[in-house]
Every structure is written in C-alpha cells, then in structure tokens.
C-alpha cells in the first residue's frame, strides 16, 4: 500500500518534470538527433508492448482468443480512417457479439 502511494507520487513528479523542463530550460534549443530519434521511437515500442502484454497477461495467463475479432475490426475501422473513439467502440461491439455466440 505504501509502495503504491510512493509509486503514484513518483509518477506525478516525473510527469511534472517532463512537461516542465522543456518550457523552463530548453527554450528553442533542440535535442541531439540521435536522442530525439530514440525518444520519438519510444511510444511505438511501448505501445506495441502494451498491446501484447495486455492481451497475453503474465505467463500468457490472460490470453483470450475472443478479443481478437474485436481488435481486427478496430484495425479495419482504423484503415478506413475512422476516429480513435469509433475504432474502440467497434472493437467493443464486435467483442460483445462474438461472446454472445
């Protein structure tokens, strides 16, 4: 419990510093290109990780095939340039239908 509180405070402080440091210190200066490129690449790498970890769960314990049709439907909706929220709604509707069958 104490650990969780510390984690929440730590995350809040990290966020505060992240968002504040650029405006306060950097001004118009830019990062070296290599560092910038790694920072740019982090969201793609971690989002891919989040999808997989969330789908499979630890030791693949949460792997649930009934989620896949919903995710495929969301990808198709995305391909047709539907907004993010619309894609998620489609995934939910498809998941409900698949589990009804």
């Amino acid at each position: 419990m104490t650990g969780l509180v510390v984690a929440v405070v730590a995350l809040a402080v990290i966020n505060l510093v992240y968002k504040g440091v650029g405006p306060a210190v950097l001004g118009d200066r830019l990062f070296p290109p290599r560092i910038q490129e790694v920072i740019d690449a982090l969201p793609a790498a971690l989002l891919a990780g989040l999808v997989v970890v969330n789908l499979l769960g630890e030791r693949w314990g949460a792997a649930d095939a009934s989620m896949l049709p919903g995710l495929v439907a969301a990808s198709v909706a995305w391909w047709f340039r539907m907004p993010q929220l619309g894609c998620v709604v489609i995934a939910v509707v498809v998941a409900i239908l698949v589990r009804l069958v």
Binding site: M1, A7, V8, A10, L11, A12, I14, N15, Y18, K19, G20, V21, G22, P23, A24, L26, D28, L30, F31, P33, R34, I35, E37, V38, I39, D40, A41, L42, P43, A44, A45, L46, L47, A48, G49, L50, V51, V52, V53, N54, L55, L56, G57, E58, R59, W60, M67, G70, L71, A74, S75, W78, Q84, L85, V88, A91, V92, A95, I96, R99
Partner: protein
C-alpha cells in the same frame, strides 16, 4: 498557416470544442482504468488521485499492470519511459508559452497528447489558448471517469460480457497504428517490441516486459547514426 491570435477567445472556444470530443474518449477510457485498477487490488481513492495528478492513460495503465505483478519499481520505470515523449513535446511548446521559466513550466503542464496535437498551428508553434481549453475539458472527465470506474468496480465477468476488457488493447492498438502511419520508419521497431513483449511476458512481470520493449527504441539511435555518418 497562422493560428488564432494568442490568448484569444476564439482559441479558447476552439480548444473547448475539441476538448469535448477528446473528453468523451478520455471518460470512457478512465472508467475502464478505474475498474482495472480496483480489480488489480488498488484502493479506489488512490486510483482517483493518480488520475488527478498524472492524467496519462498509458502510463497509469502500465504502472497498475506492473504493480499487480509485484514489481512497482519496474512499473515506475515503464511509466517513465512511456511518458518520456512529454519531454520533446514540452520542449517544442516552449516558445509558444508565456512568462518566465516557472510560469512556462506551469503552462507546460497543460500538454497532453490530444490537446497538443489539436493546438498545433502547423508552423512549429502552437495555439496556447487552444491547448489550455482542450486540456481543461478533458481533465475533469478523466478524474470523474476514473471515480465512476473505481467506485462501481464492475466484476471481471461484467467487464467481459460487455466487451469492456477490449477497450485498453483496442485503444493502444489504434494509438500504435496512428503512430506508425505518421512515422512508418518505426514499423520494424514496433515489430521487434512485439516479439520482445510476447517472449518476455512468459517469464517476467508485465512492467519488466514493457521496459524490455523500450530497448527496441534504442535501435533508432543506431539507424540515425548510420544516416548521419554515411
């Protein structure tokens, strides 16, 4: 392309209008975050506090995922990596914000993904009033959504039956696809991260698996080095 004059009511109105759309999405996501946190053993009040002080879905989700596996430090690490994008986003906003270092650091707190994208003027500057307006609407939606999800904590069966467990993976998948559409050069990195995640989550907690995925991003540095030294 010129945006609205800074601080104008038009900028605020535009921001509030866009913020409402973003807030609906944030609200739905927050409900499922609140429920997710409580079903993973977090007290409801702490989940709500976290939403109020962090306001970042992917980082909060990563922290809860990792902490439920018993590795709080890895969770903080993963969340910190995920949110590292706020450093360049904040830096890019610097010249559009007002006042001295302290005030600009404070104003920089308004940077969240949706608002930051919506406030871009298209010439490297951003519409400060629009940024504030859009964030101002989303923040309460994020907190209230978390509270509803955490306090009414639906059961896992309920979540499954109504497809609510699909919200997070679907949301992250769409965010990932969006990121790759705008930056196709990161497709190999995302694929490598997928493999790392699938293999590592078999043996290590989720937060550690996420941290390992971050390693894939380092490949971008090598590629940049190659491009810079032909």
């Amino acid at each position: 392309m010129q945006g609205t004059p800074d601080g104008s009511s038009e900028g605020w109105r535009g921001g509030l209008r866009i913020g409402i759309g973003l807030a609906i999405g944030a609200f739905a996501l927050a409900v499922s975050f609140g429920a997710f946190a409580v079903t993973n053993g977090w007290p409801a009040w702490l989940a709500i506090v976290m939403s109020a002080v962090t306001f970042s879905g992917s980082a909060q989700f990563a922290l809860v995922t990792a902490a439920s596996g018993g590795s709080i430090v890895a969770g903080i690490g993963a969340a910190a990596l995920i949110n590292a994008r706020f450093i360049p986003m904040g830096a890019a906003s610097a010249r559009s914000l007002h006042g001295g270092p302290l005030q600009r650091a404070l104003e920089g707190q308004a940077v969240v993904d949706g608002s930051w994208v919506a406030a871009q003027n298209g010439d490297g500057t951003l519409d400060r009033a629009k940024l504030f307006g859009a964030t101002l609407v989303q923040w309460p939606a994020w907190i209230i959504g978390t509270a509803i999800g955490a306090l009414f904590a639906p059961s896992t069966d309920f979540m499954r039956q109504f497809g609510l467990d699909v919200i997070f993976p679907a949301f992250f998948l769409v965010l990932l696809l969006d990121a790759l559409r705008s930056q196709p050069r990161f497709v190999p990195i995302a694929l490598i991260a997928t493999v790392i995640a699938g293999a590592s989550v078999l043996v290590v907690p989720g937060g550690v698996a996420l941290l390992l995925c971050g390693l894939a991003a380092l490949l971008a540095a090598f590629r940049t080095a190659r491009r810079l030294d032909p």
